[in-house]
Amino acid sequence: MALTARPPSELAGFDWEYAPAPEARDIVTIAARNQLYIGGKFVEPHSRKFFKTVNPATEETLAEVAEADEVDVDRAVNAAGEAFRSWSRLQPARRARYIFRISRLLQERSRELAVLETLDGGKPIKESRDVDLPLAAAHFFYYAGWADKLEWAFPNRSPRPLGVAGQIIPWNFPLLMLAWKIAPALAAGNTVVLKPAETTPLSALLFAEICEQAELPPGVVNIVTGAGQTGSYVVSHPGVRKVAFTGSTEVGKLIQRGLAGTGKRLTLELGGKAANIVFEDAPLDQAVEGIVNGIYFNQGHVCCAGSRLLVQESIQQPLLEKLKLRLGTLRLGDPLDKNTDVGAINSKQQLAKITGLVESGVREGAEIYQPECRLPERGYWFPPTLFTGVSQSHRIAREEIFGPVLSVLTFRTPEEAVEKANNTPYGLSAGIWTDKGSRILWMTERMRAGVVWANTYNRFDPTSPFGGYKESGFGREGGLQGLLAYVDLN
């Protein structure tokens, strides 16, 4: 018998199970109790209250975090106000030096931060490692470069810092949103009181440690943890000159109402219901990747997620076949595993919201598709989901789900695509897939969306401004435009 003879069953196919490949979690030390970071020191909260933050993949409590009350927020704003006097007068090149130092420390400690981000938020380690951390560092690098060039950023004007900026960030990209907010604020000479989301406060607290390590002057960055109430103290504090908020449209409206007549500057980055538009001449296999990246990236917890797929009717069938096949290869599970594509839903409340909206989709008559997918027993999970036969009037086509749920609609002509894509209260982003360059330009001119991606999706760069139309908010973050929110040009 020949040496190579093997049973035919072994040649018939190959069931390849990737062995678990978890990133080591002991690289990061999480304190059992975490204080507030005010005036360059970690301090006990006046409230004496603490709340728990859990790992959404296991429901295990990771740590207790201080809940800042009105007095705590007042102390933080005062510390920031105090620091503003010297920070705003510091030689710009020296300000830049601190910000550069922060960027380098973010890079040096990126593994630690990535693991922490994944533990606290549930996102796959490959995303926190390859997207969140590099981009966060890049934002600091980018704005550090502007710090001593503000006169060139706004020629013939005299840009001056505003004062204390109150910043509230969401739980979907905790550290990256922190970078988007803090980097331009510091570069322009402002000081900051930042409140991270209550379900993901840990990376902001580690960032506070990095500020210490960078020897940033006390009070330039203050971190107050807490829930919505703490956020409202930050927003309404009279010492705050500028408010920047990223989060839900609902809360954004409340903030704008509250700030009316106060003279405080405001930028809002809110929800979205983006259309990802695929024309019949699109490179299909790459469009499928773009669709997957658009809606299943970070479990769909992305304000600019491509949650509505608008596909030209003539290619609906082959595209959906490919898409369903691709969904079957998504690997859902332990977010710390380097091979995981879809992680855990950020919180119990968010899971309930997603489940509710998906149920409404089924009730309203859309056809649901979910690949065969074993969900872990503990933790908050939702399988990648696809709805076909969706019409514009369905809730799943109108409301932001903020989960791994895609609604598929069809169109026949470019005009119809524009009309349907714009027919939403939101206007944050859009995607266009076609081989025809002229059509990309034609479409882009007509889309009411802050960002339009062509033949790609969810691409970010610190030099490129990001922001919304309509109920997706106003103001831009990133790029030269991102500085505008933090300077007074009068």
Partner: protein
Amino acid sequence: MATAVSRSGGTPPTGGPGKPFPPPPPLSHLGSLMRGVRSVDQVGVEERAAALGKRSIKKASKLAALDLVIRCMDLTTLEGADTPGKVAALCSKAVRPQPGDASVPSVAAVCVYPAMVPPAVAHVRGTGVKVASVATAFPSGQTFTSIKVAETREAVIAGADEIDMVIDRGAFLSGDYQKVYDEIQEVKEAAGRAHLKVILETGELGTYDNVRRASILAMAAGADFIKTSTGKVTPAATPPVSLVMMEAIRDFHHETGRSVGFKPAGGIRASKTAIHYLVLLYETLGPTWMTPDRFRIGASSLLNDVLMQIAKERDGVYQSGDYFTID
């Protein structure tokens, strides 16, 4: 009155009143068909291929992959200096890659020049290892079709189980798809029972759109396998080129039901690279493609690195190169 005529309202191009249109000759519009092949987005395909390169394949899954890499390997020597002695050594290595360790399987085939087929056949007879011969004026393909066909026939008569032909890139790039198609068909016929692998030489095709077109052209013309490169041109196999070819195979299978194999070749020297190709295959074409019938890796110097990695997975330490035979 024929309905077709009355509907068009003009003179029928062929036939006459009362006669139906004859079916169009099957390949008369090959050029326009080829130009109608769906495009590939360069940025997207490179991004996806790179992302799959970040899969972390460890422990049991790594051992299984390395075993499969050996079973799917076309151990290759394609040098002007090849001699019967060199080929004999290659064949021993192919049959028994790790002397004294029966758990290491034989490779799928040895791949040699036509003149080296007879000694290769003599050495692998009865072992299950196949003999593959390059043909059709490898690597350039720049000769007369009659000679390519004759070379193929001779190689098969000499005992080759598999033929690795090259496409006429000159004809392809000048838009003469018909010539490329016809030549593959003729070689396929000359190859008879031997398996035909069609080398696209993607490094000379210039764009992913061309790679996709050439893949579909070769499969339509009867290729059993499509193969990236000769190994004589840089770049040879790359992950994104392979992904484009695999996606073409997937679409072709979906439309025709025919399963065509895939073979990356050229420049694959490290186990890690080989495993990257397996990941691409697994996540694009799925487990049914992960057999030597549908997947091969062409390599001349990969085998020892794979053996070294297997030993390392088993013992936990790397061994010196001297523990692996150089043939």
